[in-house]
């Protein structure tokens, strides 16, 4: 096929696999890659599954038991849900410092799950984007 014999095709596959491995390694060493890895390590299996399949995950507030959805993003990416799982309002809060997105999402998760009352003291309400209403 395409004038390549079997050994040339195998060589090409090996080179492509090696290139993919290098790319993954470089990504894992970047700030974003490291933060995403830390986030995945600290999510529950269910949250990890939600993030992988839907691009967001849900947490339960430590004080009220309310549910929140954390979308991929570093600002205006948290929404409070109503009893039917629909978006009720947006809450904007984030850790200080220019942290990579994964770190911001993990800080938001940990804060809501362990010190929801502190979050409510600083969070600003916003009207979520139409994308978040679905």
């Amino acid at each position: 096929m395409f004038g390549l014999d079997r050994s040339e095709r195998a060589d090409r596959r090996r080179r492509q696999a090696l290139l993919a491995l290098f790319r993954q390694h470089r990504l894992n060493r970047s700030p974003d890659g490291r933060a995403q890895r830390l986030l995945r390590e600290w999510l529950t299996p269910a949250q990890r599954q939600q993030l992988a399949s839907r691009g967001h995950f849900e947490v339960v507030g430590s004080h009220t038991g309310r549910r929140y959805r954390i979308y991929s993003g570093a600002a205006m990416n948290v929404c409070e849900l109503d009893d039917h799982g629909r978006v009720r309002r947006g809450l904007c809060f984030l850790p200080v410092g220019e942290l990579p997105t994964g770190d911001v999402m993990l800080a938001q998760k940990l804060a809501l799950e362990m010190c929801e009352d502190s979050v409510m003291l600083v969070a600003r309400e916003f009207v979520p984007r139409p994308l978040y209403w679905t």
Binding site: P95, G97, L99
Partner: protein
């Protein structure tokens, strides 16, 4: 070995220490105090899906993540 993970611009910085070494534990405790004084919150993973905020240093916690103070966006 235990690890203290501090969120920063590089993603995170990890500080390993041996809970059996008095010197390393002292360093880890000093780091804990410095970070919490600067507004970081220390959180520990106690088991699958179980986490807690650490109000004081505990050398027996194997993995601790520090996240910076939160502000409204």
């Amino acid at each position: 070995m235990a690890v203290q993970i501090v969120m920063d611009r590089s993603g995170d910085s990890r500080f390993l220490f041996d809970p059996a070494s008095a010197t390393e534990v002292a360093d880890a405790e000093r780091r804990f105090r410095q970070l919490t004084r600067r507004g970081f919150t220390a959180t520990a993973r106690l088991g699958p899906g179980q986490m807690a905020i650490l109000r004081s240093f505990d050398p027996n916690v194997e993995e601790c993540v520090f996240f910076p103070q939160l502000v409204g966006g």
